[in-house]
Symmetry: C2
Subunit: 248 residues, 2 copies
DNA sequence: CAGGTTCTTGTGGAAATGACCATATCAATG
DNA sequence: CATTGATATGGTCATTTCCACAAGAACCTG
């Protein structure tokens, strides 16, 4: 039929939830916020936070509300929709369609503080997706995998890299975001040239970051410019065969 | 709460639908399949095809079924999820969350034939999104806009360009896909070198396409190689404007 | 101060990009 | 049938970008 038959009563109802992949960069590694489920189904297993959508709120508002409840962070601009998941048996009790969002945060302390410490944890993504890690509840493993793929794409298409770092940051911190997410090594000198070539990407603050424990010249602190709203000056290296030694 | 309260009975039910943005390239322009709604709400208005999700099928299966019903095309591999839309008032009758998919087809004739011709039409995207065109039903205008944005991104990240052309195609046809979707002009000679530089992108068939009505040297026909599954050799040009004629 | 670490600047070759020219091969026209 | 117009194909060339590495500068620790 070219037109949908419209009789809502004929069609069994679904429950609609929103789930969130909360990502952050901690000690140079990508982490995801996981919570222990306290109720059935999948009680006791790790899951990504989420909850039911209410009738009078939009999907984004639902995600925003859950983000606030789970992490204490109020930021709708940080949330981006990842996709919908609706396999018939993804929830053993009833038919639940969930809409997944992901958010990139930087305030690591605030995340752990907003919720019960025993029931929430920041887990390195490589571990959470590793073979040794316990499977996540529902299809949250797949959702997490999709989120990582999405992040990799958004790093190419958008300026989401700046969401991982603080209001002021060093170029090394920003570079580490790309290196960790893409699993590549980027030459510091070339990276520096790329973001400083044009105005509007990073703005020097005049201040300097404290040197790390290993010493070294203190790096200059920058603010993110407006150009990140429309893209990124960093492009993924060519998958060429001219790779150098792995140096590790 | 760190854990979701799990009592489905508390939460009002939602209807879940799938809607599809069916795109095709016809006479060098990007077209979208629209249908006339025959029932309320939004009766008589243009809309993108779609229908209710059934309890025992996945979202992708629902979209696949609808695609088959609407266009006669059976291709789950052509469908990609676009996103979920769940604003409270997007459907005046009840709370409906829709999951949008988009599909890129090439068989234009089959689309018009599969359904009532009077109730379905291929409309140029630029017209459907233009000011003069009548508004689409529901929030389908926004969904269509999002789909076009997504196509532009997928042209960068994936090899979706080959989905617009036939099993065999000329390089000019493939080039036209990028030119139309990005709104740019690409030099034919340079485009040719990009896709022929490495093996695996396009494979010559030895045959030649008939010249167009305007004459011209007949172009060689190619098949798509396997590399398109992992990306594209074509990159969006930079905002031009550097140097004009000078030298000499 | 010596040695180590990190940031920063400099440099040269390789590769990609973009524009243009020249030629080949067809259809349509008169 | 020769001309014209259009398109495909092959080639050249200057510029820009990319990338690896070298060297200097600034800071820490011991």
């Amino acid at each position: 039929m070219a037109t949908r038959t419209y009789d809502p009563q004929e069609f069994p109802p679904f429950a609609v939830t929103v789930d969130m992949v909360v990502l952050t960069m901690s000690r140079g590694r990508l982490h995801v916020l996981l919570v222990r489920r306290g109720v059935a189904p999948f009680k006791g297993m790790w899951a990504i936070p989420g909850g039911f959508k209410r009738p009078r709120e939009s999907l984004l508002e639902a995600a925003q509300r859950e983000l606030l409840e789970e992490t204490g962070v109020d930021g709708a601009d940080l949330l981006r929709q990842l996709g919908a998941y609706g396999d018939p048996d993804r929830d053993p009790r009833m038919n639940v369609v969930t809409v997944a969002y992901f958010a990139v945060l930087r305030d690591v302390q605030g995340i752990a503080g907003g919720t019960d410490a025993a029931a929430a944890a920041l887990v390195p993504v490589s571990e959470a997706l590793g073979e040794d890690f316990e499977p996540l509840a529902f299809d949250h493993g797949r959702i997490l995998r999709d989120a990582i793929e999405r992040i990799r794409a958004d790093l190419i298409l958008t300026g989401i890299a700046t969401a991982f770092v603080g209001r002021t940051f060093t170029l090394a911190e920003l570079r580490a975001v790309y290196e960790e997410a893409w699993g590549v090594r980027i030459d510091g000198a070339n990276f520096r040239r790329s973001v400083l070539a044009d105005e509007g990407w990073v703005i020097p603050t005049g201040r300097r970051a404290p040197s790390g424990s290993a010493g070294g010249k203190p790096a200059e602190l920058y603010r993110a410019g407006r150009k990140w709203r429309h893209g990124t000056p960093i492009r993924p290296g060519r998958p060429n065969g001219t790779r150098r030694r792995e140096s590790r």
